[in-house]
Amino acid sequence: MSSIQDTQAEIIDEFSMFDDWMQRYEYMIELGKSLPLIDEKYKTEDNIIKGCQSRVWVHAEKNDKNLEFTADSDAVITKGIIAILIRVFSGQTPEDIMQADTKFIDEIGLKEHLSPTRANGLVSMIKQIKMYAIALNSSQNS
């Protein structure tokens, strides 16, 4: 399993091949469409991330020492963003997730999605992923 940094570097590399926004967004839409579906039973009110214009569900499970994330959204660009986040964070340990920075979002030209006022919830999604890491980390320690 690659580290969070390695995966981020890979993604930066992939996005550097695109010449313009259309190619970047077409790729994200493709990623969004291919995001593996979350189990319907996890698409609950509790798992909805607040503050998104589109509905976003994120579910986390602990598999041995690592966290596995599944997610869904009703907007496909949002799903593309989630797919990128899942690729970076799924399969990593709670400690690594808690410590990871997300500057790579900036470097792949999706900076505008990081604005807290954007209401697409990317910031909330990252926060939720980290919250899961904190929660599932402490549940193991307790």
Binding site: I29, R55, I77, T78, N120
Partner: protein, 412 residues
């Protein structure tokens, strides 16, 4: 030959008044179709604000010095312009507020004194959250019952049902003049007359109507009417509450502070008369003055001309958009609404459409437009809303329609 607005005004000359229309967004010339959220500001209004801060910035209504006098005169002159524009009987019936939300809260808060748990309050199903939440709060405070005037599939209120809901228990009615999410123009003159037949009072939220049509509050016989300046080429953070003199006299003040008092001792405070009773603290002076300037600007063009031209844009955009397969336009027919198109494309989330249009320099609103009950009615998460103003053009509509087609081909 049919007279079109083209012969009456020159849109290119008007566009030259709006510096922001020259800018690029994401490398593309801006197409601004989010006018229902806020209108752009002409140079004349910008100059008016700059002039205030450059030449006569001073606090009003209290200074004996010259600058204070000049500022006070300009502010009161603006109030008169607002009065004349809406044809209020008295200038003191115009309360200058921070905007529609403030205006509505001012009235809702005051009515806590008059409402009991026996009373009923009617609110339309197509209100902005700002015209729902304050009344819910009033009902929580007083125990009064909030009833909803239903709307139909065509985005119009069910007037028969409204009339059946009116009883001697009805104390207040709230409707918007024009729906922000759909653009539907409500038959408010009729609604007002029916409300008065049972002795109830009515507040009409005119925020979305004011950019497109001129309301005459005396002719409407409306009790309260609210407007935000930033939707009619004015600055943000300023608006008006119109209220009939007798009603405003009996309404208790909303906020305490300077300016709203006649005499203060620790035993008792006597409130100032209208309009100052409702204008505690230092107001947005430059904003108030610029509000008057914005009305001058729009009146110079003329609301009839504006309405005719905007309808041309609306008809054109509706026809063009309808050529795209899978488009569903929500709400009223073009002749029953202002220049707003709220739509979705089958299988596409409004957020995705809005995001891609933005990349092409096209600004639209997406989401529930602060009118979740309407979205629940249609069982949709939201819509894409394109709203037009008199400074928009058919060329921009062409770019918008091309943009929608391009986004659709990327997303489906």
């Amino acid at each position: 030959m049919q007279t079109t607005s083209k012969q009456l005004f020159n849109v290119e000359a008007i566009r030259a008044d709006f510096p922001i229309l020259n800018r690029k967004v994401n490398g593309q010339p801006l197409v601004y179709f989010d006018n229902a959220a806020t209108s752009q500001t002409p140079q004349q209004v910008i100059d008016c604000i700059v002039d205030y801060y450059s030449n006569y910035n001073a606090n009003i209504h209290r200074g004996v010095h010259s600058l204070s006098q000049i500022a006070t005169d300009a502010y009161e002159k603006a109030r008169q312009k607002v009065q004349q524009h809406f044809n209020a009987k008295h200038a003191h019936e115009i309360i200058l507020t921070s905007g529609t939300t403030h205006s509505i809260n001012l009235v809702a808060n005051g009515y806590a004194k008059f409402i009991t748990e026996e009373d009923e309050i009617l609110v339309s199903a197509m209100e902005h959250h700002s015209n729902i939440v304050p009344w819910q709060m009033l009902c929580e405070k007083t125990g009064a019952k909030l009833k909803v005037i239903p709307m139909n599939e065509n985005g119009m209120l069910e007037i028969d049902q409204f009339e059946a809901m009116l009883t001697n228990k009805t104390k207040l009615v709230f409707v918007n003049h024009v729906s922000n999410a759909l653009g539907s123009i409500n038959p408010i003159k009729h609604i007002i007359a029916k409300t008065h037949e049972v002795g109830a009072k009515i507040l009409v939220d005119g925020a979305q109507a004011a950019p497109h049509l001129k309301a005459d509050v005396q002719d409407l016989d409306v009790d309260y009417y609210t407007v935000s300046a930033h939707k009619i080429c004015g600055p943000t953070g300023v608006g008006m509450l119109y209220g009939k003199e007798a009603l405003l006299e009996e309404l208790p003040p909303y906020q305490g502070g300077g300016e709203m008092i006649a005499e203060v001792t620790f035993e008792k405070t006597t409130y100032a008369g209208l309009p100052h009773k409702f204008e505690a603290g230092t107001p947005n002076i430059a904003g108030g003055i610029a509000f008057g300037e914005a009305l001058d600007y729009m009146n110079t063009i003329g609301f009839d001309v504006i309405a005719a031209y905007e309808h041309e844009l609306l008809d054109y955009a509706t026809a063009q958009l309808n050529t795209i397969e899978g488009v569903r336009i929500f709400g009223a027919k073009p002749e029953q609404k202002t220049a707003v198109i709220s739509f979705n494309i089958e299988g596409i989330h409004p957020y995705d459409m809005g995001t891609l249009l933005d990349k092409m320099g096209i600004a639209v609103r997406t989401g529930h437009h602060c009118a979740q009950p309407i979205m629940n009615f249609y069982k949709i998460p939201g819509t894409v809303r394109a709203s037009f103003s008199f400074y928009n053009t058919k060329t921009e509509i062409d770019r918008f329609v091309e943009g929608v087609k391009k986004a659709k081909s990327m997303l489906l």
